[in-house]
């Protein structure tokens, strides 16, 4: 083999030639490797971007189509001028909240965030709902119920299946009608007493009308309640209250605040502990 190559080139291969050739070969190989590396980087980078982009695009598309699917009640956009039930205001630390009882202004402020579809809220109501209301009616705390409907998007599919879309929003809106009829506490307690065992079942319009009856709304007042519920008069209020919930970054429901400080959940659901906490609080 070497005779063959020598015969062609005539010149004997010197050590320097061999080294130069080796260097050239090495350089060529390095360059090829570099090219290949760059190619892998570009193709791989593009591939990763395409895959991740497609996944994120799919998620966005899905969330879009979800929110349009749940829109059979067509909720209004947040609007501070939307009608409010009696006694509810649209600004300040208790914006869109439902006042309970008539504790003096010197009593500590107790706020409780709840979603009518939330099972833990029912647990709280079963455990200490009465105790919380007694703090208000006994004048020991200025109680404000703060409604939220954050579960609606999560339960959209189940709600829709049961012909009860946006159940949290609609249950709040109907509550507004009951508040106008002077049955704020009654309606609140009736809803939790009748909360479906399976989360997501929701409340049909017939159920919400029945809650009004069970709350003791009768005669002309019931006719007004019925119209109010069917018209969705207070859906805007529910939307506004949910926005307040989101803006305040409330960590889920139920959530209790005493003078603006979060109450530990084991205290909120325990009458003795909550009474003690409230008694020790100053305005």
């Amino acid at each position: 083999m070497s005779t063959n190559s020598q015969g062609k080139s005539k010149k004997p291969v010197s050590a320097k030639d061999r080294r130069d050739k080796a260097a050239a070969a090495r350089a060529a190989q390095e360059a090829a490797e570099k090219r290949r590396d760059r190619m892998i980087k570009i193709v791989g980078g593009l591939g990763v971007l395409v895959v991740v982009g497609a996944i994120i695009g799919g998620a966005v598309w899905q969330s879009r189509s979800n929110s349009s699917a749940s829109g059979s009640t067509v909720l209004p956009s947040p609007n501070p001028d939307a009608p409010l039930p009696k006694g509810v205001v649209n600004s300040g630390e208790n914006a869109y909240a439902v006042p309970v009882g008539d504790a003096p202004a010197t009593a500590p402020l107790l706020q409780v965030w709840e979603d009518y579809q939330c099972p833990s809220c029912k647990s709280l109501e079963d455990a200490n709902g009465q105790g919380i209301e007694e703090l208000a009616t006994g004048g020991k705390a200025r109680l404000f119920w703060r409604p939220t409907a954050f579960l609606d998007p999560k339960l959209a599919a189940d709600n829709l299946k049961n012909k009860a879309p946006d159940s949290s929003h609609r249950a709040i809106a109907a509550w507004g009608c009951a508040i106008d009829a002077g049955k704020a506490r009654e309606y609140h307690d009736i809803v939790y007493k009748n909360q479906p065992a399976i989360e997501g079942t929701g409340y049909t319009s017939a159920t919400l009308l029945d809650f009004g009856k069970q709350s003791g709304i009768t005669g002309d007042a019931y006719t007004t309640y019925e119209t109010c519920v069917n018209d969705g008069t207070y859906l805007g209020w529910a939307v506004n209250s949910l926005k307040a919930f989101n803006d305040a970054a409330v960590p889920g429901t139920p959530a209790g605040y005493l003078n603006g400080t979060e109450i530990q959940s084991d205290v909120l659901s325990d009458k003795a502990k909550l009474d003690e906490l409230v008694a020790g609080a100053t305005t």
């Binding site: 080796a22 070969a25 991740v52 954050f150 970054a249 960590p251 429901t253 139920p254 959530a255």
Partner: protein, 190 residues
């Protein structure tokens, strides 16, 4: 990894690391990919789960953005680890992310809250029952993932990855020697 180690032993050890590295990459990619996808396809992303951690200064808008960004990041890291692309950096980011999760869980635990970590979707308030074991196991699990990621930071050269050369076993370390040069001559001659 001493250079003085006999070549076959070194090759074996490196090869062993590369297989272990591949397994770690796939496990982490699976965990991150699953966690990211579940959150990404949940209504509202992970926003509510993030709020439950009561991070000081958190508000609804920041949580909304983070609630999409974090799972998107998890999916990106999962894909990078899956194909072995920028393995070391992806592993470093994974280790830091896991460390954040550990700090977050330890922090809500220490502050006395009882939440679902929302690690694989869900999140929010849960009953305090079994809280100690829940938090402990979550932290231990995330510590394990952190350790796996740290391994990949230390030994990012893994089997079947876009990072490594096509077949490193065919490209031994060191320059071409005269012998291979003769082969080169021979091929050129024909």
């Amino acid at each position: 990894m001493s250079v003085d180690a006999p070549a076959p032993a070194r090759a074996r050890r490196v090869a062993g690391n590369r297989v272990v590295g591949l397994v770690l990459r796939l496990v982490l990619a699976g965990v991150l990919g699953f966690a990211g996808l579940v959150k990404l396809f949940a209504p509202g992303g992970a926003s509510d789960a993030i709020i439950a951690y009561r991070i000081p200064g958190m508000n609804g808008q920041i949580a909304d953005i983070l609630g999409w960004l974090m799972p998107a990041g998890e999916v990106l890291l999962a894909v990078l680890l899956l194909v072995g692309f920028f393995t070391r950096w992806a592993a470093l980011a994974t280790a830091l992310l896991m460390a954040c999760f550990i700090v977050g869980i330890a922090s809500v635990w220490a502050r006395g809250y009882s939440i679902d970590c929302g690690c694989f979707g869900g999140g929010g308030e849960v009953s305090a029952e079994g809280k100690t074991w829940r938090y402990t196991s979550e932290i231990l699990r995330d510590l394990l993932f952190t350790g796996m990621a740290v391994w990949l930071v230390a030994w990012p050269n893994t089997l079947f990855s876009l990072d490594s050369k096509p077949n490193p076993d065919l490209y031994p370390e060191g320059d071409l020697d005269d012998e291979s040069l003769d082969d080169l001559d021979a091929t050129e001659a024909f």
